[in-house]
């Protein structure tokens, strides 16, 4: 599903590589926590998976496709198979909940029929039925993140990338969001979540990949956040 072979990423502005000879494999349907301090390379990792950036060295494969040999016009196709959730939700403030979710389908040219059918379905799944016509600033942080997850999931991606999705939420709301991500994972979607939240990592007991200065320092199935926290 996701494979990195000896991936190194060096940014021209930094003397130290953001990722240094990283190799790993993530299988279909896995739930993976990506942990490590700020600047350890988590965001770079996610950017490479989205082909927002290319590695300096090495091979990145997503859905068995080598991103290095992929031409520019195929990138949108790749991203249609991936969903993204961020710490800051990234909702469109002038669009309602339903419109925010529908936007993701409209811009990839899905027929209006399909949009009318799947948007209410996914909103119900994330627990936002009845709030379709609210604007983002009328919602709590947890609800906004649910909208973002609905938008990321509405096109049924094979992979869901979550960059500190609970970073702005209180512990209780974070738990609810994790339940939702778990539920999405059970539909067969691979979930890769970068996080600093050790409560969550410790309670979920999923695979943990720890990055330290761009190097994989730990890769453990059913892991915990670690003693060094």
């Amino acid at each position: 599903m996701i494979e990195l072979q000896h991936v190194t990423k060096i940014y021209p502005t930094s003397p130290r590589p953001a990722l240094d000879d990283v190799s790993m494999q993530i299988d279909k349907g896995e739930f993976v926590f990506l942990i490590g301090s700020s600047g350890s390379g988590k965001s770079t990792f996610l950017r490479l998976l989205l082909k927002e950036d290319n590695p300096t060295k090495g091979v990145v494969k997503v859905n068995d496709k080598n991103l290095g040999t992929m031409s520019k016009w195929q990138v949108p196709k790749l991203r249609r198979t991936m969903g993204c959730v961020f710490q800051d939700f990234r909702l469109l403030r002038n669009k309602t909940v339903a419109e925010n979710v529908a936007f993701a389908l409209e811009v990839i040219n899905k027929p209006q029929r399909t949009i009318k059918r799947v948007v209410p379905e996914v909103l119900e799944m994330v627990g936002l039925e009845g709030k379709e016509n609210r604007l983002p600033n009328e919602l709590s942080g947890g609800e906004q993140q649910r909208v973002a997850i609905a938008r990321a999931f509405v096109n049924r991606p094979l992979v869901l990338l979550a960059d500190e999705p609970t970073g702005n939420l209180d512990p209780e709301t974070s738990q609810d969001i994790m339940l939702l991500l778990e539920r999405i994972n059970r539909t067969g979607t691979t979930v890769v979540m970068a996080t600093h939240d050790y409560h969550i990592v410790d309670s979920m007991r999923r695979r943990v990949i720890e990055l330290n200065d761009g190097v994989v320092s730990r890769d453990q199935s059913r892991g915990v956040y670690g003693v060094g926290r």
Binding site: P76, C84, A104, V107, I108
Partner: protein, 294 residues
């Protein structure tokens, strides 16, 4: 492609930077208007060449006291010259008649001109218009009743170089103005892209095609270019109706200046529109490629 979606994005984009949009439309309009004027002048120069060059190339003006034998001698010489294709004789009366016709809109000028003020002349068409010198040598000024030999082509050349200069200056200003409007378009596309960065970021992440993301911006510029072209064409129409047709009515009627036909404006309008839309779209596309990450 979801037409409604794209169009609503375009409308929102244009509204959001209204001042930039207006500036973009105005500069584009002025630039295209000047370009159109340049094209019209070029057309006019072409028409004028036809009017003038075909008629007369050399005029031989006779003195007031020219004698009949002298006149006949000149006519005979012209008749026999291999350089001359054709010639006509114009008497004082005929010259005056042509004068009154040419300046019929200025009765004061006609009233102040005595009927015998204009010299009689031979109007000569040469086989080769460049061979003026030969005629000038054959009929030395001040001898045999010749008052003056004038190369009308020379005069016309100066007139046309003046008109060509005007055309070139107009087009030069149009080019400078076009450069300004291209920079404005580029700037306002960057602004629009910045304003819509949330949308475009999301579009990028959910896998919208590059076209889908860029098209609203390009259409935005193209629409501004089209409106600019509309203004330019409107400006040309107004110029024709209010200036050319009114102020220049006299010389046009007299055949000195060719009229600006509606057909000429109709002919250059599509060029102006295409130039407006094309330049704006290309500027937008290049800007998106170079400066904006979509």
């Amino acid at each position: 492609m979801r037409v409604n979606f794209v169009l609503s994005e375009v409308a929102a984009g244009l509204r959001r930077n209204l001042t930039m949009t207006v500036a973009m439309i105005l500069t584009t309009g002025i630039s295209l208007g000047l370009m159109g004027t340049g094209l019209l002048i070029a057309n006019m120069i072409g028409d004028m060449r036809e009017i003038y060059y075909d008629k007369v190339q050399v005029s031989i003006y006779l003195t007031d006291d020219v004698s009949d034998p002298q006149r006949d001698a000149i006519a005979a010489a012209l008749e026999g010259s291999p350089e001359v294709r054709n010639y006509i004789y114009e008497s004082k009366a005929e010259a005056y008649e042509r004068f009154t016709q040419q300046f019929q809109e200025q009765p004061a000028l006609i009233a102040n001109t005595p009927e015998d003020a204009l010299p009689e002349s031979f109007r000569v068409e040469l086989v080769n218009p460049e061979r003026y010198e030969v005629i000038a040598q054959e009929f030395p000024v001040g001898e045999n009743g010749v008052e003056d030999v004038r190369d009308e082509g020379d005069f016309l050349d100066r007139l046309f170089s003046l008109l060509n200069g005007a055309r070139n200056a107009t087009i030069a200003v149009a080019v400078v103005q076009a450069l300004a409007s291209l920079l404005l378009i580029s700037n306002s596309i960057q602004l629009a892209a910045f304003n819509r960065r949330n949308e475009t970021n999301i579009m990028r992440l959910v896998g919208a095609s590059r076209w889908y993301t860029q098209l609203p911006f390009i259409l935005e510029a193209a629409l501004a270019g089209l409106i600019g072209a509309g203004l330019a064409i409107g400006g040309l129409v107004l110029t024709k109706v209010l200036f050319v047709d009114k102020t220049l009515a006299g010389p046009i009627k007299a055949g000195i200046i060719p009229p600006v036909d509606w057909s000429a404006i109709a002919a250059i309008s599509p060029i102006i529109a295409a130039a407006g839309v094309g330049l704006a779209s290309v500027a937008a596309y290049v800007t998106l490629r170079l400066y904006v990450r979509l």
